[in-house]
Amino acid sequence: MLLVLLAALSGQTYAADAASEPADTPEKWLETMVQATQNLTYRGHFVYQQGANLETLAVTHTLQTVNGKSEELESIAFLDGLPREMVRQGSNITFASAGREPARFEHESLVPMVGRFTAGNFDQHYKLKPAALDRVAGREAVQVLVVPTDRFRYGYQLWLDRRTGLLLKSVMVDNEGRIIERMQFTSLEFPGVLSSEELERLKRKLPQSPDKNVVKLKSDSVPEKVEWNWEASWVPEGFKARGHSSRNSAVSNQKVDTLNFSDGLASFSVFVEPDETRVLSQATEQIGSMAAVSKVFRNGEKYFHVTVLGEIPLGTAERIAVSVRPREQSQQADK
């Protein structure tokens, strides 16, 4: 393990050097975490526990330079059960699942996540507390407690690699302190450069999915300008719209509008889908950290499904879902 560590240290490029600057506050540690996730070259295995589910996953990540710009190359593969893999090639993300058509996402622009925790009012919604050093996957880890200041979000206990800031372990707790999600690396290497086989695999041409499965995602925050005729009139303070898209529904030939919100750590998405199946049902689901609330709304003769899904408490999701309403009723003047 020491050898691996040494190799990792000597093999790191600029990013690692930047990341290994000793961060002195928990906020800076979190910034380092985000940078490390995006900029370092690493491979490893981790376990993920959600509710009663335990999964093993493998991750490979590196940066490549294309036309003078650096791009992320990443693969996250589920090692248990149905083979599933996510491949990120720059701004394209493909999710392939055995027996299903691959889904491809394209980002039109990427918002750098710099200053997510040190700027803005992150500290109004979470209190950060440093905790004791620990060891995860054979590596020294710095612990950070992330305690929410209200009941609209969950708390976290994060273990960050002391050398690089990479997130090694994450535990999510609800407001009664129960563990609802766990992620933990079991092995991790920073090889400096990936093997040519790995690189080839990451750069491989992915199966083209039909147009209907390509989703253009816009990450520029323009929620106010979105041309849809609905809005979420209540979201917890601190959550900002970060991206939106409109894609074909999985269960009908309708378009589904999506708005994604994040407070820096947690995120949820609001989906609005007109319904034409005439089989309408509301559903509520909570598995581990993930809550999903689906409601049926009627506006005159029109029915539509509003679904809120994300790693937020169920009550928060419920409240957001019932706040979704047609825009023309409240903001017609804006148009």
């Binding site: 979190l30 996730t37 149905l82 997130l167 820096g264 034409e276 005439r278 049902s281 019932v322």
Partner: protein
């Protein structure tokens, strides 16, 4: 099973029942017959799919918040379709506007075929408060929904579970419990499929937006079935 010559007569009756069901005019007996057979009968499913496609195509004038409009013309179309689909062996409907719908069906057929024979069961539909003096929405709707109302949650199960009736169920009066259960199971499957698709998109957007690195994709396991 896909050969229907051996039981032509029964099939014809089934087709009629199906047509009536799709048209919302089936008696209880007819509905039962369709529901009993739809699961095992390939032909019948195929037919149901085509009926539903026609309905979809006819109603498919616009994408956004479109009206649920069962125009009178649908019935004529269904009758014509029923007439020649009895003699027609392979679906010949994959042209024009229907082609796109068909593509979609091949993808989501499992859920939607079943949905096509279920009745228009509206479970706990929420009306917007349309009064002009704009009561804040949350208070405006709590009489019908559930901020505080306990809901059934599938705590450890996989997939989605709908909230059962008994909950704003005035529209169920004319429907038997079995039919309701059938519709409910269809709706559950649609919900499950929807949650899965939504979860994927949520993961993707969160991967870009939430600063949690690998976690958003790991979370996808939540709504994956099997």
């Amino acid at each position: 099973m896909s050969e229907k010559h051996s039981h032509n007569h029964a099939q014809e009756r089934l087709s009629e029942s199906l047509s009536a069901t799709m048209d919302g005019e089936a008696g209880e007996f007819e509905l039962r017959r369709v529901l009993d057979n739809i699961g095992s009968d390939e032909d019948l499913r195929d037919k149901a799919r085509r009926y539903q496609m026609m309905g979809d195509a006819l109603r498919h004038e616009t994408n956004e918040f479109m009206n649920i409009d069962l125009s009178a013309g649908i019935r004529d179309r269904l009758e014509n379709e029923a007439a020649h689909s009895v003699s027609e062996k392979t679906p010949g409907t994959s042209r024009g506007a229907l082609a796109t719908v068909e593509q979609w069906w091949s993808k989501a057929g499992r859920v939607a075929v079943a949905a096509s024979v279920a009745l228009a069961v509206l479970l706990g539909v929420q009306n917007y408060n349309t009064s002009p003096d704009s009561v804040p929405l949350v208070t405006g709707v709590t009489d019908q929904t559930t901020l505080l109302q306990p809901v059934q949650i599938a705590q450890n199960g996989y997939g989605a579970a709908g909230i059962k009736a008994g909950y704003n169920s005035r529209q169920h009066d004319s429907i038997t419990p079995e039919q309701l259960a059938q519709a409910q199971s269809v709706a559950d499957r649609a919900t499950k499929e929807r949650f899965r698709a939504y979860a994927l998109q949520h993961a993707e957007m969160s991967a870009m937006n939430s600063g949690q690195g690998i976690l958003p994709f790991a979370r996808l396991t939540t709504f994956e079935s099997q």
